[in-house]
């Protein structure tokens, strides 16, 4: 039986969200996986809070059904931080004992990816920015980093890595 994948990322907010989903479904098929289908309402941009919550509950049920979560951890509306739903879903996936792959184009540590000034703050014993705000030690927050396999690249690179792990028996 094919391993089932849950897609965690902001794609559903794109104008061509369904097209992008189909492209990713095709990639999953290519590497021997099944991409779980979101509930249709996930694509609605305007809705009531109650309906939105009902959709979130359906998505959590969908995640319970999957074997693997592929998470898009690229920066989103911020610097050095992924999309809020992705971080939340990675924590959920870890609690549900799912295998998690996160992908991003640049896997250098946060401090190196930061475009501003950095220095070491002795009192805080960590690297900080101009405002003495500290950085995570790795490419992602510690909890995301150590709960997932980080892949440098795009969605296909993550799927490819999952397929390699499956072949090696690491995903059984």
């Amino acid at each position: 039986m094919k391993k089932k994948i849950y897609l965690s990322g902001p794609d559903r907010l794109l104008k061509n969200a369904k097209e992008v989903f189909e492209q990713k479904r095709a990639l999953c098929e290519k590497y021997g996986f099944e991409l779980l289908e979101y509930p249709e309402e996930v694509y609605k941009i305007k809705d009531t809070f109650e309906n939105s919550r009902a959709v979130a509950e359906k998505r959590m049920e969908l995640m319970k059904e999957c074997d693997i979560v592929i998470a898009d951890t690229r920066d989103f509306r911020s610097y050095l931080e992924p999309y809020s739903e992705v971080a939340l879903e990675m924590g959920m996936a870890y609690a549900l004992e799912k295998k998690i792959y996160s992908y991003m184009p640049d896997t250098r540590v946060c401090c190196e990816r930061y475009s501003g000034e950095t220095h070491y703050n002795e009192a805080m014993a960590q690297m900080v920015d101009e405002n003495d705000v500290g950085f995570e030690p790795g490419p992602l927050n510690l909890m995301l980093e150590f709960s997932s396999t980080i892949v440098k690249g795009d969605f296909e690179d993550a799927i490819k890595k999952a397929a390699e792990d499956l072949q090696k028996g690491d995903l059984n």
Binding site: K46, S52, V55, R59, S78, Y83, A95
Partner: protein, 186 residues
């Protein structure tokens, strides 16, 4: 006081999921949170509580293990959802919150920002009544300050109000089970 998963009445231990450890004001903020927790009958637990992780091999993996170990000791999650490095909450905080939500633990957020996503100052363009950010992602319009999955969490506008929300939920359970509600300290 609250009723735990074994039906025992005791003080709940609250996991304080936050980004304070990156800030110089961490110590005083956590001290304040713990005092407020005490007022409402909770025990606040900060991920940095206890002995510091010893330097050495696999240091960060051991820090992860330590944080995760603290999470396993808690009954409830309070998550700091204020903007962090942009227009999103801290990802580590969200990871921890998601862990508690998935396992059915009472989970609350606190956040002092705008009431809806649309009210956030996100650079945008409009097309057919929908707003898109500069990368082409739609900004959700769902009577809420966060994206879809975060609707699974009750969010208050301050730490103390999150305590009040949780207190009301726990008191309701206590009363239904025939116990007195907790008397909040003055």
């Amino acid at each position: 006081m609250f009723i735990d998963r074994e039906g025992k009445v005791r003080k709940p231990v609250i996991y304080l999921a936050d980004f304070e450890m990156f800030l110089p004001t961490c110590e005083e903020t956590v001290k304040y949170w713990k005092e407020v927790c005490d007022k409402y009958g909770f025990i606040g637990m900060f991920p940095g509580d206890g002995d510091p992780v010893e330097p050495g091999d696999n240091f960060w993996q051991r820090v992860f293990n330590s944080d995760y170990g603290h999470m396993l000791k808690c009954d409830v999650c309070f998550a700091q959802l204020d903007d962090w490095r942009g227009h999103e909450p801290d990802s580590g905080t969200l990871w921890e919150l998601g862990w508690y939500v998935a396992l059915g633990y009472p989970s609350y957020g606190f956040y002092g920002g705008p009431k809806t996503l649309l009210e956030r100052k996100i650079e945008r363009t409009e097309e057919d009544g929908v707003f898109y950010d500069s990368e082409g992602y739609a900004i959700e319009d769902k009577e809420y300050g966060f994206d879809n999955m975060l609707t699974l969490v009750k969010v208050a506008d301050s730490f103390e109000n999150a305590c009040k929300l949780a207190r009301a939920d726990f008191d309701k359970q206590l009363i239904e089970a025939g116990y007195e509600p907790y008397k909040v300290k003055e």
